[in-house]
């Protein structure tokens, strides 16, 4: 028992050092990279943010959410439409996107939490499809349908437009904030309640956990994080169209989480970066991407159900202490 305590303190020290080194690496990264690599980095980090958002819902509460593309679209279109019609500054728009994403998700989740498990997954998927068709077909006059909306480059001060480096730091900051949020959530009463829901819903209810409330909260956090990611991404890309939120975009965060490790913050970041830069890395093999995604998903679920990071932690880091409640592996 004593050994376990000291081991825990050790691992906390190591975690702090690791986080410090990673942050330092992230900060000096733009100085040593070229624009092409920068593109990859931004794509990957946005994916990591999306995956962290999903991690709250899937990793902590154990409920799969296939609505990530929908949240992303809400944020993106909120920014684009506000900028086009009201010409408000970007910071205001981003805030509005976050709030709007949260409100829409709250409204949706009030009813969808009546579903659980598979049904919730398909319900959120229907939500995402509804968002997709409404921007692509239904509200064509506002959103420009398939043509999309072009966004002006972000002006920082004195007509200097924001460079990729600026976006990179912005995204790293948001990612760090999301990591911190996930971390504190895990350690808090709320996070423990969520983990309990994933473990055993009936037991959680008998401890007085209001299951629907925490599921709503998880979905709303997921929606807000997704909307912020979408907003920043769209502003960086300078263009928004329904193409960004195709069916596959709902599956990639789930896939990322499985690859990295479900319920694992570091896993979500690593998996998110890996899966989201994968299609851009495979130049000329774009047609294979669906097949490769499928194979990756099956291989990980069959042979590495804890994900890359979860498995590494289990083997080398925590030395046998199971700290991550990993719902996928049913531990």
């Amino acid at each position: 028992m004593n050994k376990r305590v000291s081991n825990d303190a050790d691992s906390r020290m190591r975690t702090l050092v690791l986080i410090g080194v990673l942050l330092l690496l992230a900060l000096i990264f733009p100085m040593v990279s070229n624009p092409r690599v920068m593109n990859f980095a931004i794509l990957g980090l946005v994916g990591a943010i999306l995956t962290l958002g999903l991690n709250i819902c899937f990793g902590y509460c154990g409920q799969i959410n296939f609505g990530s593309g929908g949240f992303f679209a809400i944020g993106g279109y909120c920014i684009a439409l506000l900028e086009e019609s009201l010409h408000t500054p970007f910071v205001f728009n981003l805030l509005a996107a976050a709030i709007f994403g949260g409100v829409i998700t709250l409204l949706m989740s009030m009813f969808l939490v009546r579903l659980r498990g598979h049904s919730l997954a398909l319900g959120t998927f229907a939500f995402s499809l509804a968002i997709y068709t409404s921007v692509a077909k239904g509200f064509k006059s506002f959103t420009g349908g398939e043509d999309g909306i072009r966004l002006a480059p972000l002006v920082l001060w004195h007509e200097t437009t924001a460079s990729d480096t600026f976006y990179y730091y912005l995204i790293v900051a948001v990612l760090a904030a999301c990591c911190w949020l996930s971390w504190t959530l895990r350690r808090s009463r709320v996070g423990r309640a969520m983990l309990e829901i994933a473990q055993n819903e009936v037991a959680a209810a008998s401890f007085g956990v209001d299951i629907n409330k925490y599921l709503r909260l998880a979905l709303v956090l997921n929606g807000v994080i997704g909307a912020v990611a979408g907003g920043i991404f769209v502003k960086w890309a300078g263009w928004i169209s329904p193409e960004y939120f195709n069916i596959m975009s709902n599956f990639t965060p789930v896939l990322s989480l499985v690859v990295g490790g479900v319920g694992n913050i570091a896993g979500a970041v690593v998996g998110g970066i890996f899966i989201h830069i994968l299609p851009t890395l495979m130049i000329g093999l774009a047609e294979f991407s669906t097949l490769i995604y499928g194979v990756i998903l099956c291989v990980f679920l069959l042979f590495l159900p804890r994900g890359i990071i979860g498995e590494l932690q289990q083997r080398y880091y925590n030395r046998g202490i199971i700290r991550n409640v990993n719902k996928v592996a049913g531990e």
Partner: protein, 289 residues
């Protein structure tokens, strides 16, 4: 008046189509309480096999229908025994099993996509294009075929699952796997049978539905979501309820499209789902458990 009749017919037809898709979920759901995500890809396989053999090779229709059911069954058995069963055996939670069926979907869709280069494959109406007339009612032979197939499959499935020993075994395995094993039901074999039934229905459904929409390797998923929502609206777990929910949903979307505006199909489906969840969570025909 004519618009009303035309819309009603169109709504019924779309509804039956949703119902057929909803029905295809049932066997696997009844046998293991798992929603099989790969259903969409299996339906797409049915459409693709139909395109390859019935439209291109012009093989006789009965043989074609046999193939259209058989090849998805082979794919489903592959997904079941190589992907889903190993996870079930290791006691993984159902949601993980569902995720791996999603993996199977992506593999099937990706492979077919490579074969078709992700472009549309054009399927034509097997039963001709001259509409069957009956007073003001005109119905395309394709829809008539879907109607007949749906009724036959629905009634057949109902009889199978309620009146035969094998079908009762499927339901028992889903209700309480442990007890079912105790009374001598072979769980593995029963699940396999359920996957075969589901895949056969899905293959035929995909083959019949394909000419009515643009078919491509990625056509399956949206259709499956609509069929699934139809099943929730009707009351999940019962074959007839899927049909009722599908017809309700089909009428709703077609009337909205006909009288108010087009282009809101998915949103309407989602709003209908929200309403049912808010006011009648057990579905139109469901009973509270």
């Amino acid at each position: 008046m004519e618009l009303f009749i035309v819309t009603t017919i169109a709504g019924l037809c779309t509804g039956i189509l949703y119902g057929l898709v909803g029905l295809s979920f049932m066997a696997v759901y009844n046998a293991s309480k798992i929603i099989n995500f790969s259903q969409g890809a299996l339906g797409m396989m049915g459409a693709f096999v139909g395109y390859l053999f019935v439209f291109n090779e012009k093989i006789p229709l009965p043989l074609g229908i046999l193939l259209v059911a058989a090849i998805p069954i082979v794919c489903a058995l592959g997904i079941n025994s190589f992907l889903a069963e190993p996870l079930v055996k290791r006691n993984f939670p159902p949601i993980t099993v569902m995720l791996i069926t999603l993996g199977g979907t992506l593999i099937l869709e990706g492979a077919t996509g490579l074969a078709t280069r992700f472009s549309w494959f054009k399927t034509s109406f097997v039963f001709g294009r001259t509409p069957l007339k009956w007073g003001l009612v005109r119905i395309s032979p394709q829809y008539a075929a879907i109607l007949i197939a749906t009724i036959v499959l629905c009634v057949g499935y109902w009889v199978f699952v309620n009146r035969t020993k094998m079908g009762l075994g499927i339901r028992a395995a889903g209700t309480d796997a442990y007890m079912a094993a105790l009374v001598g039901i072979k769980l593995r074999r029963t699940r396999m049978l359920a996957w075969c039934i589901s895949a056969g229905i899905t293959g035929i459904a995909g083959f019949l539905i394909a000419p009515l929409m643009l078919s491509s390797a990625l056509m399956g998923m949206p259709v499956v979501v609509n069929g699934f929502i139809a099943a929730i609206i009707g009351g999940f777990g019962k074959p007839m309820a899927a049909l009722v929910g599908g017809i309700a949903l089909g009428l709703l979307t077609q009337f909205f499209t006909g009288y108010i505006s087009a282009g809101f199909g998915e949103i309407l489906v989602f709003i209908a789902l929200i309403f049912v969840l808010a006011f009648r969570p057990q579905g139109i025909m469901g009973v509270l458990e």
